[in-house]
């Protein structure tokens, strides 16, 4: 009945039916390599968190409707969004990352950090032309600018490694989108982002010439 359409890092995604509706079954699968206690703790907390935050985020952006949460099966049943990911589109349309910036800033304005923003987590619904954000398993409520800056850093990191050919344009649009919407002053925010990146290992940038 349900058809496996994607095998992610932490969950299998099945396409199935919920009454007359096409739906996604997101099932957090057991990781046999992990200690049992740790594995079930992580699967439970992330299932709860994702279901809760998918709903919470609907205040400010589009997310799939949650229809059912199975705590014992670590399953969320949600609206199926038929479309393409930003990952598939961005190499030809780096300007699309404006939306990523805008969506992220909207979440932050509402006190939510996504925790794993990347180009695979934004879906363009083909019928409506509307963007949906998904994968809220690592997201949480926070008022700390630092947490928002980590989100910003993570997205920048992902376009740098996965879309390096269009990185500069994509980053510019992402940044524009973010600051068009964010309530935090750009200077202050970017200082925080740089502080986080400096805290990483060997953050000093050097032009190396032979």
């Amino acid at each position: 009945m349900e058809k496996l359409i994607s095998k992610g890092a932490e969950a299998n995604i099945y396409l199935g039916k919920w009454g007359p509706l096409d739906v996604i079954y997101k099932v957090r699968v057991k990781k046999p390599y992990m200690v049992e206690d740790l594995d079930s703790y992580l699967r439970r907390i992330r299932t709860v968190r994702e279901a809760k935050m998918l709903r919470a985020a609907r205040n400010c952006i589009l997310t799939p409707y949650v229809l059912y949460v199975g705590l014992n099966s670590f399953t969320i049943v949600m609206q199926y969004v038929y479309g393409k990911t930003m990952k598939e589109l961005i190499n030809n349309r780096p300007d699309l990352s404006f939306i990523a910036g805008e969506y992220l800033a909207k979440l932050h304005n509402n006190g939510i950090a996504h925790g794993d923003p990347n180009t695979s987590n934004l879906l363009l619904e083909l019928n409506s032309g509307k963007w949906y954000m998904i994968d809220f398993g690592l997201s949480y409520y926070t008022q700390r600018v630092e947490d928002y800056a980590v989100d910003f850093h993570l997205f920048r990191e992902i376009i740098n490694v996965q879309h390096s050919d269009v990185y500069e344009q994509a980053y510019e649009f992402f940044s524009k989108g973010y600051f068009s919407t964010s309530r935090i002053a750009k200077d202050k925010f970017m200082n925080k982002v740089e502080e986080i990146e400096r805290r990483g290992r060997y953050a000093r940038r050097r032009k190396f010439e032979f």
Binding site: N118, N160, G200, R201
Partner: protein
């Protein structure tokens, strides 16, 4: 074509002679051991390196049956690492290069781990886990750079294990001792599991584990620390595999020798139809061959610096370095 590589980034002073078709003719090293419970002192380590350098260099040439005059290039580890230690290797390399008039090639220590790993395992275009004392990174090559997919936001996995080991009285580097201890642990104690996107944070585990030592058996703490830290790494590696769909995954750096980590990564590789490569244990830790081989790769592209422009950079970042052989 043959060349000499000199490694002096941290604990290890190493020298290796390698041919440009990848035959390691010699690989000699001498490792500084700090007193038990203490970390590496940069000045003491650099003194050690200065003391052992003549012996190590000489031995590496004798084992390879070559003299300085036979060499086609001199490569040294220019960073990242401890300043005083790096300067020992750089100074020697500069001198040998100037005296014998040989091309001088500064190379990045972390990329040395990666490229030597690729040479020895045969991995072509892998997703890389670089797990040395100084790096905890997930990388993939694209457009002449090793690009960082995810990394630690504070201390490295190697530091986490080493500092925990030191806090219970082991001598640094204490990875193998902590691993042996962990294999005797039975009871899992929850520690902070911090994954942010593809990035990791280990400092919370270290603080918590040290604090909990007063309440739980040391074996159980070592076990739990490894389980949590490796699970975090395995999860981000799996995430990167799922996103990049790379057919190969390769582990390099000192922590690559850990058996429990290997077990976890084998499972992930299998689940995502990827082939797992692990650098041979003899070459997992810092060594001269990683520097010599990287030097050989650069030499093919004519990269070199004049001795007066030879530099060291303690915080040289990996994704800033051009690697022309990686498309």
């Amino acid at each position: 074509m043959i060349g000499l590589g000199i490694e002096s980034t941290a604990h290890t002073f190493g020298a290796s002679v390698i041919s440009d078709d990848g035959r390691i003719l010699s690989n000699v090293k001498d490792v500084y051991r700090p007193p038990e419970g203490a970390g590496i002192h940069p000045r003491e380590a650099s003194r050690h390196h200065s003391d052992v350098a003549p012996k190590v260099l000489k031995e590496s040439l004798i084992k390879a049956s070559v003299s300085y005059r036979d060499l086609d290039f001199i490569a040294y580890s220019a960073g990242p690492g401890l300043g005083p230690c790096l300067r020992v290797g750089a100074t020697l390399a500069r001198f040998i290069s100037a005296y014998y008039d040989k091309p001088l090639i500064p190379v990045h220590h972390g990329i040395g781990h990666i490229e030597l790993g690729a040479l020895l395992t045969g991995a072509k275009d892998p997703l890389v886990l670089l797990l040395s004392g100084g790096h905890t990174m997930i990388l993939s090559a694209h457009n002449k750079r090793w690009r960082v997919f995810g990394e630690t936001l504070d201390i490295t996995l190697g530091q986490l294990i080493d500092q925990f080991g030191r806090s219970i009285g082991f001598s640094s580097p204490s990875g193998p001792q902590v691993e042996a201890l962990a294999s005797k642990g039975k009871n899992f104690v929850q520690l902070p599991y911090v994954v942010k996107g593809n990035d990791l944070s280990f400092s919370g585990i270290l603080s918590a584990a040290k604090k909990l030592l007063s309440r739980f058996r040391v074996e159980d703490m070592a076990y739990s620390l490894q389980e949590v830290a490796f699970s975090m790494l395995a999860e981000t590696a799996e995430r990167a595999l799922a996103l990049t769909k790379k057919p190969e995954i390769m582990v390099v750096g000192g922590v690559a020798a850990n058996k429990r980590l290997k077990e976890m990564l084998s499972y992930i590789a299998e689940r995502h139809d990827s082939k797992l490569f692990i650098v041979p244990a003899d070459y997992a830790g810092d060594n001269g061959a990683q520097i010599a081989w990287l030097g050989a790769l650069y030499h093919k592209y004519g990269y070199k610096v004049e001795p007066e422009h030879a530099f060291v950079d303690q915080s040289w970042r990996i994704d800033e370095v051009e690697v022309p052989w990686r498309s």
